[in-house]
Symmetry: C2
Subunit: 256 residues, 2 copies
């Protein structure tokens, strides 16, 4: 019943955190019981939801250190159907320790086992890389959702990630599949968008979501106020797009 | 004589690679003998300069595996005064091995020792993190240049990096200093820019470069053609800005 979706791309700044936070919030608005898990030591998901360090009791860092069970790292949010596990990797020593423990690729999978029955969706925000903790996330996941910002680097990143997903399927998680590719920060009528869209449709057409996420300053503005954009400015085109993306995913599973 | 500058910020997608490539190219246009070193396994610097895998004979990956000296990983570019060392970490196994060897923080410093006499500037492109290879880069560097894109995440990233630089100064490289903070993808008159600029001036005013790098699609467009934007479209505002940034750095050292 529980679908675990990793939001992943080895390229930085493509909208992984923005998509993880707002997709999770949109699923919660649709009254799907949702858990957002931040595996990026940088901790941008916590910033997006207004969780300052004082408000965090424990996070993935403590779960990986085996000092806390996942239950103790779960925080309630202002959305009834959304819970949150921050990364809380908040020191240089913890970052080193976290990346060492993450070499064991089943730690996250085992940690999430206990909460499968509770949630409809678990959304995992990943850092921009393809080893260690991201191997953990993909090993624990049902599927992978790739946000892509138009440009040559992001397209190359998709090709690399497709290969990596095949590798994870072979060594750790045979049932892993590609949930889809969503275009983020979309700006119509630029040459970059034209080239990227043509290439995406050529190579990955069947994976492309119908929904595209438009570029809108409200997203970046909302992070200063510790609110996901779907709560900060619900009528904006970008909020509507994230709600649409959530329904596109919900309806896909309904058909099954 | 040789200045080694790491282009670094633990946040993804802020313009590290774009700044590393175009600053190095601008220094070369100013006839400073420059070496660009890519330490990011993703390899975006190579993409920016049109180095496809077939054209790469060796990179940082081989230097860290001790199969090649740095000399053998140096590639000529179309600019007379610019040489390039790609990352060439081009498999999952190599990525794992690379990050293990990078736990020894002096590998890069020792590798660069042999070429100090040859270059005026060595520019190091870093991945968006703060351990392993980035510890290597900061241990090997004279200074750190931080590109920042307006927004809450990038501002938090600066605070984290300042702390990390203090840590590196304490344990490995006491003479490391902050070269400066450069605003990238700058768009005037948005609330995000207003809040960010105010906060940057309040907290880091003495570190801010006079030069800001404007947002211009030409940057992303240029990556499809394997050319740094200062060669792809030399008259654009973004190319002029990178040339200006190079002269701001050159003149700073001239005064010393
Ligand atoms: N639709 C959008 N419109 C405008 N800005 C956006 C949009 N989505 C994301 N951004 C901005 O782009 C920047 C990068 O987004 P985000 O941090 O979500 O990417 P990421 O892939 O998680 O980055 P990292 O690789 O560092 O984890 C942020 O400043 C964010 O506010
Ligand atoms: N001045 C600019 N105007 C418009 N787009 C830009 C500018 N600078 C960079 N970009 C684009 O923003 C994206 C991110 O830039 P870049 O890859 O250089 O960042 P990065 O910090 O190196 O990312 P990573 O963290 O993944 O290494 C790229 O698609 C690039 O083309
Ligand atoms: Mg992120
Ligand atoms: Mg980069």
């Amino acid at each position: 019943r529980c679908k675990i979706i990793s939001i992943c791309l080895p390229k930085g700044g493509v909208g992984k955190t923005t998509t993880a936070v707002n997709l999770a919030a949109s699923l919660a608005v649709a009254e799907k019981k949702t858990l957002l898990v931040d595996t990026d030591p940088f901790g941008a998901s916590a910033m997006s939801l207004g969780f300052t360090p004082e408000r965090i009791k424990a996070g993935i860092s403590e779960v990986f250190n085996f000092t806390h069970s996942l239950d103790h790292a779960i925080h309630k949010t202002e959305l009834e159907y959304l819970d949150f596990v921050p990364s809380n990797v908040n020191s240089i020593q913890r970052d080193d320790r976290f990346s060492k423990i993450a070499e064991n690729r089943v730690v996250l999978k085992n940690a999430l086992r206990g909460v499968h029955e509770v949630y409809d969706y678990i959304i995992i925000d990943c850092p921009p890389l393809m080893r260690g903790i991201v191997q953990n996330a993909l090993t624990a996941s049902t599927s992978v959702l790739m946000p892509v910002r138009c440009g040559h680097f992001a397209l190359e990143a998709i090709a690399k990630l497709f290969k990596y997903v095949d590798y994870i399927k072979e060594i750790a998680n045979p049932s892993l599949f590609i949930e889809g590719i969503v275009m983020t920060m979309y700006e119509a009528n630029t040459k970059v968008t034209e080239i990227s869209e043509r290439e995406l449709k050529l190579r990955y057409n069947k994976y492309l979501f119908k929904t595209t996420i438009p570029r809108n300053h409200m997203v970046t503005e909302s992070t200063f106020y510790g609110k996901p954009v779907i709560l900060y400015n619900v009528n904006s085109n970008v909020s509507m797009a994230y709600l649409e993306l959530a329904y596109e995913i919900i309806n896909k599973y309904r058909e099954e």
